[in-house]
Amino acid sequence: MSANVKVDMVTIILNGEEVEVPDGINLIEAAQIHGREVPHYCYHPKLTVAGNCRMCLVEMGMPMRDRGTGEPVLDSDGNQKIGWIPKPVIGCGTNVSPGMRVNTDSPLAKDSREGIMEFLLVNHPLDCPICDQAGECRLQEFAMDYGRGYSRFVERKNVKPKRTRLGPKVTLDDERCILCSRCIRFCQEVAKDDVLGFVDRGSYSTLTCFPGKELSNNYSLNTVDICPVGALTSSDFRFKMRVWFLKESPSICSESSAGANTLVESREGQIYRITPRRNDSVNDTWMTDSGRELFKKVKSESRLTAHRTNGCVDTLDAAVSFSVELLSNEKIAIVGSCNSSVEEQYLLRKLADQTKAKIHLPGHFGEDDGLLLSADRTPNLRGALATGMVKKYPSDNLKPLALQLVKGAVKTLLVVNEDLFALGITKEHLKKAKIIYVGTHVNETSKMADVVLAGLTVFEKSGTFINRNFRLQKFFQAVPGPAGLVPDFLVLNRIASELSGKVAESLGLESLWKEIGKLRTSCLKGIAYREIPSDGLDLDPGKLADLSYVEGPALNFSPIKAKTTDKMKPKAAKD
């Protein structure tokens, strides 16, 4: 998995061209490295090889050797003879070996593909106008690229059930299924919830759930993503929007510290679905079902859409200057959030230094599922540590703050996106305190707040998170936020500037990172925003590695302390 493991290269002859490929990979991958497409349905890089779709047939041969002596067999010119395998072989199930001859577009390979395509289309319904997969359907694409272009099939097509419910989130259209078994293998190998299988034979074969079971695990929607045709569809996204209208923005799942890479797909400012983005160091090609639902909160009724002072809707200028007024007093405390981006946490730290406030940081914890839902249910707890916003590992309550409130040591509270009442603070405690709330949704704290600065959700702003692997990952704005709202880091920057009597300069992420890169003792030292690669940057945690993190071993992740023993091998990487 890691990049510094040295891979042996072997030389194969691909379509008559001598090329170098890593040893041990199969012909589909080898051809892909050198820009040749071998069409395939059942093969998936993160699943075991099943070899049942037969779409990846290629012609293959090996240099001949004498069986008895092992000596190379030479032809009349003195070259080693090539023993071509008389029938095509499947690219997914054939691994490269030195001197191998592979033809991906010889007449035999082309003929085989055309034949396979014809058989796959025999009973496939002409559903494209009503099929959600249209536009991202491998069958559609390969029928165009490798099919014969017209149908010779005059008999009646099979009719099968069109809307079988496999689970709460997945609907199966049996007619469209090409029996590639990707979903079955996914459930067995990745989700470890073996509920799917084929029943019956021949053209009667159908995908089904085992009796009494249903596809209800938290990873079920990945089967929809890997389905090469429109057989498995998301019950939620079904018939909502055609995929060619959707704009894809790279983002990071904010559900937990796993930090799955995602694509947020939206049209005209409305998000329709979230799909995983492949990152072999983080989430492979998977993500949780619960993470895909997060976008529904963006336009919920409890969304804060305007800034408020003393309960009345007000302008940003007024809200900021009122906040500055409140923060100019003594006895200030700040409640930060692990949901904020690295940039916001950095500015919050700066604000705390200016006002000599103490920062309290509550964490949110749950059960670890060993895959992509980690025990830390916030995306950026490590960001708070890396920016130096807090030194200690957060706990799930705010008892120290409650004590200070009782003592009267806190008069003004700046709360970022947290509900104090869910964290052990009572109304009794807050009687004398003024509250400034920066957040996205209405909660009990925002209702009590003297100033509410409405913020943007992770889908409406850009920034960075640090996930459980200490990997710094960028997310980008997918949709515009409610009219009049600006990114939280700009609001915090304005407050910080105005507190020191300056007019806030316009600030971009690039220029903010110039400041963050100057943090002396942080692992973020010397990083420039534009240099963070799109698939993330592994940070050196340094001393932060000694804290006791709650996450257990999971997909592509082993807790830092256990790293030396190297017990946990990523599960998907084995295959």
């Binding site: 319904p125 002409l126 494209c128 106008p129 009503i130 249209a134 009646r156 097509k157 099979n158 009719v159 099968k160 069109k162 809307r163 049996d174 019956d200 053209s203 009667y204 159908t206 079904r238 018939f239 909502k240 929007m241 055609r242 060619w244 209208f245």
Partner: protein, 181 residues
């Protein structure tokens, strides 16, 4: 340098100065047309005959059984150059015996006739032959909203057209005649 050349206008001849030959030739045209067949129409009482393939107002049509043909694939919305079409896709409920196997139908279908340029791409792209630019060419309204045709109006204007394929009917027969698994 551009040289300026002054052109002298020729003086009019006597016959030209009297204007009489010109008047006579003009009247000749007038009288020759007086006895020909009329080409003007008393619009709007009289309407022109519309040639085949004419591209009038886009409409949605129903099949001869009175069922809506559109399955809201949104290809017309995609292809529409001025972005005049707006579709909200919807389900056909499972208990609809006639059409439940079609699964999908538009919940709302709007064509903004102030945007439409009558190019006919929507008709060309439609895989279900559900949208046709028919003979209606005159369109008027008092407000912008009035000129946005909604689904109801589109079906009202479209009416029923003959169908060559009966794709969904065939599917139903297949199911009934034993190809169902």
């Amino acid at each position: 340098m551009i040289k300026t050349v002054v052109m002298e206008r020729k003086p009019l001849s006597l016959s030209e100065r009297t204007y009489l030959p010109q008047i006579a030739s003009g009247l000749k045209t007038t009288f020759s047309n007086l006895f020909k067949k009329k080409v003007t129409l008393q619009y709007p009482e009289q309407r022109p005959s519309i040639p085949r393939g004419y591209r009038g107002v886009p409409t949605l049509v129903k099949d001869p059984n009175g069922r809506e043909k559109c399955v809201s694939c949104q290809l017309c919305e995609f292809v529409c150059p001025p972005k005049a079409i707006r579709i909200t896709p919807g389900h056909i409920p499972e208990d609809d015996e006639e059409r439940s196997h079609v699964e999908k139908a538009p919940e709302e279908f709007e064509i903004d006739m102030l945007r439409c340029i009558y190019c006919g791409y929507c008709e060309e792209v439609c895989p279900e032959e559900a949208i046709f630019l028919q003979e209606n060419y005159s369109l008027s309204g008092y407000s912008r909203e009035e000129l946005v045709n909604d689904k109801e109006k589109l079906y009202e204007m479209g009416g029923t057209l003959p169908d060559k394929h009966f794709k969904w009917d065939k599917k139903k027969t297949d199911e009934e005649q034993g190809n169902a698994h």
